[in-house]
Symmetry: D2
Subunit: 342 residues, 4 copies
């Protein structure tokens, strides 16, 4: 089958012919890919920026946002059968460690991360995964329409869901960055809270889309965005700031926009927080880390998606055009999310 | 009456003769001071380090850890009567703002901070406060024995109480700094959890005391304390790190000792956190600000104190010896807490 | 001034001329009534059904759902000034007990309940209340439009808000009774969750309105409603059942509609639950009591109301027509809520 | 091997010779039993009282509180190996349903209940279970010393753990019934809270033991226990009542002992709650169902057990003496817990 494989850092991945994966373990599932999201993290991977954290052995197949149809199942798989439409949680987990037993999939001590850690990912015709990663969908769902929810989606949903108790009517949530994750976050906030939603972005078109998706107010990130958020919140700052950028200064501005007693949720990455401990304690603010969500959160997000309350703008590319999709993303030419469709 | 008043930064406060305060508002309470704690924050005040944050008008009476007996009450006061033994919440609050109505005293938008913000504090024979600050105590309680719980105590208790849901059996809490606040924190952890309690301090005597107060293990802060905590926690780090120091590097070591999914609680101050956002998100760790606790938390802490589950080492000084007490504290010559007894 | 006063149980209250209330205490507020809701509880009061619980001394002025404009304030009132538009929390509280300090207004040990406990209520031209009961509104708000949110509204909102953590996407909430409280509850659920909302009522017109207000599905209470709810929930029952009726059998049906691990929220009253403890433990279900909400919850609900997300059908009557309004309510001839407008 | 099998209701189970179980599925584990608790539920089973709920096919092997050593493992088992000392969660779960993925083992939609539902239990030399049921213990642990924690223990622990946020210093927890589960509950409360612990029981010896295990006060259930609890709590009742009896009237007394805003936790069973909905709403009390705890809760309880903070009184019987053990239990002649040791 065809697969998009990374052979060396700082070189373009190539579409290679490789053997199809097959089931060997009792919980294995092979999925025929219907859509594989192309994510900014893929660009970081190619640049070698995840090498230290993940130490993958090259070459391997990238692609960590996957949906499709079940093609083959192991002997002990009971939750899906061949032909089922599925979206895949990005990190197949062990099911046995303390974190798994508490439903904290993202803290599984034995999980793998196909497409990131050297395990083959989903930019291919078939993907080997586990029963524990499969969320069964209504058969009418098109995998290419939802694939990007598998990682970008649950990451945004997870952050929003954790913050819900803080976002009662009358509070303000700031969303920094109305791009791929951010525009899902805005929709989740609009679906699950009655909070004011203030969206901050450099890009006027992104802000216009944000308004359509549920933003109450928008702020152009022109250097005066901290003051603008304070003006919109009676001088206090926002109850919760969701920072989908968290680099190039956004991270320290995001913390500065957070009101006393409030919480700054980090979702993007790249920058460095520099925060005097006096500022943390005198205002009792929190800095909250966020990573990919849980299996159940992905299932919940699919409920929102199937009800039309979270939608994605996507642009489909054939698998052979993977390099083009990556280049377009890098060049800022993709509105919404690029999806490879084998 | 006598009062310890600060006339200029970087000069020793003096014991002056000033008029006794009297009740004017309906909720006013005048308390005859039985004990006023001498706190490291008083040293910072004298050095002018709180000037920017609080902008007090000099001169004023310092002292923000106070207990005593009710001397006079305003017309609308119903919760205490003359003669009652009381400990005082450090920040009399308005009772009407959103934060007050939610029980979040420390986020009251109208509170004052006697002894810090230019309002006269408790290093005096009498203190003017509010009914809302008074926690009534058993008449057998000696104010000088508990005064230091009014600020140091509830700050430690507040941080521990917020973290309780994270500290189930089998988890590890690290306490950095077994000084005034830290040794109260250790006792609160021992009273309210079955977690492992690992205490980190430079001082061997402080660690020995920590062991008597409930520490499961102790670690000398000799530069290898991050590795030592990791060794004690299977290489992972602690579920919760309470940093009562948060300066001179402790803050970044404290974050480094925190396990994936764990939380770093900042209570001390002075240093600056420098944290890449990638480290925050890839491990989903939290940085949690902590300030003084709520009125109800002070009442709860007094339950622990009156049951003998939280005790304080104190050293009494007469009010006239305030300069000596401050000097002794600055010179590291006070074991436990210095208390002025008018 | 005119006031609607109850002189004897089982007799119609009369519109009497009584002296206007005036401010005496420092926290007193006199409000010129702009709207006073007429509630089914008023009918129960007249029948003497609250006599045992509240022991009021007759005669007194009824009316516990009040909004209007501040007319006079006590010396210590800082949160409202003369002329402010306000809605009144139904139970002025002490602000000093443990419950008040925790924000649990409804558990204040010193609160009064004007209109219920013998303290004069709001079916009058003026009402004496406390600063702690006043929620300030946008001056454009008409008191008669929101008065019924003061008690019916926050009771429904309080129950829904407590249940929010249980109502993630994919879950089902059942609302039993789409009357005065129920139709507010439906709107709160629609504003704050993405759960399925199944509404059960005997009345087809009420169900039609429910559909317009956000119900996902409606069920006629024709005796087979337990089975109908189970059919709509895969045979399991609902995650949360809000019972705004809780009499005439609804209470035991409501518990029967609750899924294993689910919660049955009691808001109405009159019936008696008869539940084998084996049924409680073998399915781990909860029965959750609900009473009027907190001050902050009333403020939050007003945010929803002012945003148009919770609306009330009301029918205005002049104060002199109080008997007519009570008769109409008793006869089932009021759509939405009857409001007395002095 | 020998196994204690129930052939007909209302007849004594017999010790039969049956084939040893063997591993067939990839997640199967065969455990050599080191201790099997004899529980009052076993008496109920023999009387046919669980027939309607569980519909077991007779004959089958009873015994649902099991610990021992791993004897054989399936191909996909990674969390234990042959020879490991283990205690077994009572309900092997699927690991794939929503409840399992949320860590709510007791609400697994596909679980079995060996010893109750017709699946062979642990009163035998060997037991077939699943990797997901195995909690690995320190090899120094004697299975017979901890077996009864597998069901009685985690049930008590689960209820206490759920209630922890309600039990801050100054609150009161009532424990009704200081028998098998109750005396574990008392120890859990003492280890994890600083609440007052009031124990109610008919039996003076049980109350004396309760005092040794951490009860602050004890009350003889002589018919005046509701008043006695109210007297001990300022007339208000307890914040949380844990009812380990919940039959013969204890259930309604338990609810009556609960303070306004408080929670009545049902753990025992047999009686019927009769509660006017007015009593539920006017005081905003909760009735909380409790069943066996989660896998992680069993692991946490074992931490307490291995630290000596929860201990069990046990009386060992050889497997052949199973009838004697059941008779002794029925006759009230077992102090603590009877354990069969094959």
């Amino acid at each position: 089958m065809k697969a998009v494989r990374l052979h060396a850092y700082n070189e373009k991945p190539t579409v290679d012919e490789v053997p199809e994966p097959t089931v060997t373990g009792p919980f294995d599932v092979v999925v025929k890919i219907g859509g594989a999201g192309v994510c900014r993290t893929d660009l970081h991977i190619i640049l070698g920026q995840w090498d230290a954290a993940m130490s993958p052995t090259l070459p391997y197949t990238i692609g960590h946002e996957n949906a499709g149809w079940v093609h083959e199942v192991g002997s002990a798989v009971t939750n899906v059968t061949v032909g089922d439409t599925v979206i895949l949680h990005p990190t197949p987990t062990c099911g046995l460690c303390r974190a798994c037993r508490a439903g904290q999939d993202m803290h599984c001590t034995e999980s793998v991360f196909p497409g990131l850690d050297g395990t083959d990912g989903g930019m291919a015709e078939y993907l080997l995964t586990s029963a524990r990663a499969c969320v069964k969908l209504d058969p009418s769902t098109q995998p290419k329409d939802v694939a990007a929810l598998a990682d970008a989606g649950i990451t945004a949903y997870h952050a929003v869901r954790k913050a819900l108790p803080l976002l009662y009517p009358g509070t303000t949530a700031v969303v920094i960055g109305a791009g791929g994750l951010g525009h899902i976050g805005i929709q989740c906030l609009a679906a699950l809270t009655a909070a004011n939603i203030v969206v901050v972005d450099r890009n006027a078109a992104a802000l216009e889309l944000a308004g359509q998706l549920g933003a109450t107010q928008t702020v152009v990130a022109d250097g005066k965005q901290v003051d603008a958020v304070k003006d919109l919140t009676g001088g206090e700052g926002a109850d919760v700031v969701f920072d989908f950028v968290a680099e190039e200064g956004a991270e320290n501005e995001g913390f500065a926009m957070t009101r006393p007693g409030g919480s700054y949720y980090v979702i993007g990455y790249g920058g460095t927080l520099v925060v005097p401990t006096l500022d943390v304690i005198s205002t009792e603010r929190n800095i909250v880390g966020n990573i990919v969500g849980t299996y159940n959160e992905l299932a919940e997000l699919m409920v929102l998606a199937q009800a039309g309350r979270v939608t994605l703008h996507t642009k489909a590319y054939p698998l052979d055009a993977a390099q083009q999709a990556l280049s377009d993303l890098d060049a800022g030419m993709v509105r919404g999310r690029a999806i490879l469709v084998p």
